[in-house]
């Protein structure tokens, strides 16, 4: 699994860090920070839930093979 973000679109809702704090955190301005761009497979469901919860379509999850 591979994560791509378009941080310019982030509206600083904090949803991603709330849903999946293992992978997403926020900087001093509340904007998304990816802690691990290729997290282990067992986090897949949580990462996808965070991507879906984002109100600004910032986060994309890819399969490693595709990217």
């Amino acid at each position: 699994m591979n994560i791509q973000v378009d941080a310019d679109k982030c509206i600083a809702s904090g949803a991603c860090a709330q849903v999946c704090p293992e992978v997403f955190d926020l900087d001093d301005e509340g904007v998304i920070v990816v802690l691990d761009a290729a997290p282990p497979a067992e986090l897949r469901a949580k990462v996808e839930e965070a991507a879906a919860a984002c109100p600004a379509a910032v986060i994309e999850v890819h399969d490693q093979s595709r990217v």
Binding site: A12, G14, L26, D28, G30, A52, A53, P55, A56, A57
Partner: protein, 391 residues
């Protein structure tokens, strides 16, 4: 349990979230999405901000990449308007008479811009990408714009248009617009920000009569204070109405939106999500409708879980934001019902602050407002989430 065919009417944030989540939770039947717009799912908040300003090309507002769209394996019926629902036969019928049978129906038709009788024709509204592109085009040459309505949409457009060098007047019959959404202090600061940057904001003022001077391509508006103003463009930003025309004559209960139980069920095999839906809130003892971007997602996901038989998650805290000039205002929870407000960071007169709304105990907040303070608000909104979400 897997059902054979889900039909979603409406391809906005709520409709797309439902589809995306259905696949994520393992639904492997057919999904058909009907939308009267011709575009694949796109996001509306940028329409009054980055797309309108010209900073983004419209394509940047799309909700999902081509890859995600392909993966979702949806039959898209775009440019197709649902005209009737026959719930006994589990059938949606389109304007041109085509039947779409379903096992589960998800109503995600959103809202439409309210038109004002005093301005029946020609005035612009902003709800869709096409509206946005048309307004953006007109703003290229317009010298002046009147915005009717000082809600979030009206003020966002005012800020964007001003930055493009257009003279902007905002008119609202309410004396204290947005006080119910932001609390009175933040609402008046916001109006003051507009005025200090050069937007004319006329509150407590209504438009009584309008005249379109077609040969010279401008408007004359007579106002309730007996003055007259002229403008090249008029935008109506006077709220919205749920898109429920097509549900007339059904057994669904429709009253300012489609009434649903606390899980989004409007009738057996019929669900409603997003701006069009009024879900029952057991904690409040009433049905509530939100026009918030996050609520569209949460409801879409909750309904997808229910259809797939996945366990429900707790209810999230309502959240919305608005961006105007260089200001970002964010609200988590509710600011309107609280008895007390404490400023916990910064100073309301200054560039950034955080206010906590509560009923006497700041440790048990009902709402958090961040004024250019997304970062500093974090511990307070996290406390709110801990206190108020249902597990």
């Amino acid at each position: 349990m897997t059902r054979s065919r889900v039909v979603v009417v409406g391809a906005g944030a709520a409709g797309w979230s439902t589809v995306e989540a259905l696949r994520r939770f393992g639904f492997d039947g057919r999904i058909t999405v009907l939308s009267d717009e011709v575009h694949l799912p796109y996001d509306r908040p940028p329409l009054s901000k980055q797309v309108l300003s010209g900073e983004w090309e419209p394509g940047r507002a799309q909700l999902a990449s081509a890859h995600r769209i392909a993966e979702a394996d949806v039959e898209w019926a775009l440019g197709v308007t649902a005209a009737a629902l026959h719930s006994a036969d589990r059938l949606v019928v389109t304007v041109d008479g085509r039947p779409y049978p379903y096992d589960e129906l998800v109503i995600a038709t959103g809202v439409r811009a309210r038109r004002l009788p005093v301005l029946a024709r020609d005035a612009l509204v902003l709800r869709t990408l096409d509206d946005c592109v048309a307004l953006r085009e007109r703003l290229r040459t317009a010298r002046s714009l009147v915005v009717l309505g000082a809600g979030f949409l009206g003020l966002e457009v005012a800020a964007t248009a001003l930055a493009r060098g257009v003279a902007v007047t905002v008119i609202d019959p309410q004396r204290h617009p947005l006080a119910d959404r932001l609390g009175s202090a933040a609402a008046s600061s916001l109006v003051a920000q507009h005025r200090s940057r050069g937007v004319r904001v006329l509150t407590g003022t209504a438009v009584c009569q309008t005249q379109r001077v077609a040969e010279r391509d401008f408007w004359l508006l007579r106002l309730s204070d007996d003055t007259t103003i002229s403008a090249d463009l008029v935008l109506v930003a006077a709220g919205s109405v749920p898109a429920v025309e097509w549900l007339a004559g059904t057994s669904l209960e429709v009253d300012d939106g489609v009434l649903c139980d606390s899980e989004g069920r409007a009738a057996p095999h019929v669900w409603a999500v997003g701006d069009v839906a009024r879900w029952y809130r057991p904690d409040l003892g009433q049905h509530v409708r939100f026009e918030h971007r996050t609520s569209a997602v949460e409801q879409g996901q909750a309904v997808a879980r229910a259809i797939c038989g996945a366990p429900a998650t707790g209810r999230a805290i309502p959240f919305f934001w608005t961006d105007q000039f260089d200001l970002k205002i964010q609200v988590w929870g509710s600011t309107s019902s609280a008895a007390d407000v404490d400023v916990v960071f910064g100073d309301p007169g200054g560039p950034a602050y955080v206010a906590v709304f509560h009923d006497g105990d700041v440790a048990s907040p009902t709402g958090v407002l961040a004024w250019n303070a997304a970062g500093p608000s974090r511990p307070y909104r996290e406390a709110l989430v801990r206190e108020r979400s249902t597990a």
